[in-house]
């Protein structure tokens, strides 16, 4: 047996031997209807989302989720290398969880559709409680297949295939009850992307509309643009630590740290802290999150000349930057003692302010106004993120 086969044998052995008396539980039967809104950097994304979950018998839970993004964009990306646009993306997921003893097996299929991007993902997962239910081991695998296309010319309804991407996610997690009031968990996930260009195209994992910037030959203070060139593979690893603590006055603290690195040279870290406080029929939540990353090896705000390197990108998402998110949530619980077929319900509102500050992505629109290339101010923007939703348990 090779080494991975030992690991598989080991995990199967654990599952076989650790079937115990007390059973885990299925997720709650509930329905959620949400309206969401993101507004920042002259990009607006809003739409509805619905999540329905229902048990079949005592060991099976099925769910259906539909989610829509209605996008209106005049962001700095399209101001520089494109034109303002409107489009919609609809995502649908159908899934099932099957509970047997202390093991929960999960399967889901997700389909995402927009006019120039199709994505489908299959996810399988396993969760196992053991050590007297003090510990939970989770494992999961996802396989995604994306098809990227782009508009041809000025016709808004005509598209051509640019590339296809195969995504594979492998994840494992472990959660431990530490005390009567505290839990601690670890998560690790490896993701690989492999892009294949359509015949005659150069798009791989990149957005086919995005362009990099270089100094115009003979006029170095003026930016010129050409379509980006990405590697066709990417592999990333992320390791997270998260904990929950129940406060003596019936409140809760949640904290999270994640570190990330990938084969493009990007390193990232984020920390998050959430405080939850129920008061009578209300539940209040305060959130704080800080994120920072370093740039990809092939990112530059301004290249010296066209075709300087094999791979070239100017996506602000690949630059060195940091963001801070501060938010709150309010929930009002109604029918706490049941009402007809409803067990309980809640009305909810959530708001986050996210501030993005880029360290080496400049506001190239200033170059159009006469500011020499490479001396424009660094880009920054704030985003308002809101959700309003109603939840019903039955």
């Amino acid at each position: 047996m090779r080494y991975p086969a030992y690991i598989l044998f080991y995990l199967l052995s654990l599952l076989t031997f650790m079937q115990q008396v007390t059973a885990a539980v299925l997720p709650d039967e509930r329905a959620d209807v949400m309206l969401h809104s993101y507004e920042g950097g002259e990009l607006t994304v809003s739409g509805p989302a619905v999540l329905l979950r229902k048990n079949i018998g005592t060991s099976t839970s099925v769910f259906y989720n539909t989610y829509t993004d209605n996008i209106t964009s005049a962001s700095i990306d399209v101001q520089i290398s494109g034109s303002p646009y409107e489009e919609a993306r609809t995502e649908q997921t159908l899934g099932v969880d099957y509970l047997t003893g202390k093991t929960t097996l999960s399967f889901s299929y997700t389909d995402s559709t927009e006019n120039d991007y199709e994505a489908s993902t299959i996810t399988v997962g396993l969760s196992q409680d053991f050590f007297g239910d003090l510990s939970t081991l989770t494992m999961g695998f996802s396989q995604g297949n994306d098809t990227i296309s782009a508009r041809t010319g000025n016709d808004p309804l005509e598209f051509e295939a640019r590339s296809s991407i195969v995504r594979s996610n492998y994840r494992v997690g472990f959660t431990q009850i530490l005390t009567k009031n505290a839990t601690l968990g670890f998560g690790f996930e490896t993701i690989t992307d492999e892009g294949t260009s359509a015949p005659g195209q150069s798009t791989t994992l990149n957005n086919p509309y995005r362009q990099y910037s270089f100094r115009l030959s003979g006029s170095p203070d003026i930016r010129s643009y050409a379509f980006e060139l990405y590697p066709n593979t990417r592999t990333s690893n992320a390791l997270s630590l998260r904990g929950n603590y129940f406060l003596p006055w019936k409140g809760a603290i949640h904290y999270e740290y994640r570190t990330f690195q990938d084969s493009w040279g990007i390193r990232a870290n984020n920390i998050g802290l959430t405080y939850v406080q129920p008061i009578s029929h209300f539940v209040f939540e305060l959130r704080y999150r800080v994120y920072s990353q370093t740039q990809a090896d092939f990112y530059r705000d301004l290249f010296d000349f066209e075709g300087q390197f094999t791979f070239m990108a100017r996506d602000k998402e690949l630059s060195t930057y940091s963001s801070t998110a501060v938010g709150f949530g309010i929930s009002y619980e109604f029918a706490k003692n049941g009402w007809g077929w409803i067990d309980k319900g809640s009305l909810n509102f959530s708001y986050d302010l996210i501030s993005f500050e880029y360290d080496n992505f400049r506001d190239a629109t200033e170059n159009v106004g006469g500011v020499p290339a490479g001396t424009e101010s660094f880009y920054a923007f704030d985003a308002d993120v809101m959700q309003a939703f109603i939840s019903i348990w039955y």
């Binding site: 989720n65 990330f260 909810n348």
Partner: protein, 74 residues
Amino acid sequence: MKRLPLLILVTTFVLSGCSSWEPWVKPYERENLSDPIMNVGRDPVVASYHHHVFETRESARGAGSVSGGGCGCN
């Protein structure tokens, strides 16, 4: 490396004894832990939305509390 199969078997059988093992936090002591406020992702529709908002704008991905995939967000 040659000892790995033996190590795995021993560990497995040691762990398999867990069914008679006494947890240090008894089931009746887990009232606080089972309170919904102890689940940061207690509203899945919000958890997956926040995951989507951050993942479309950050290079970092994975090891979150929500499984990703299929967002079409390049």
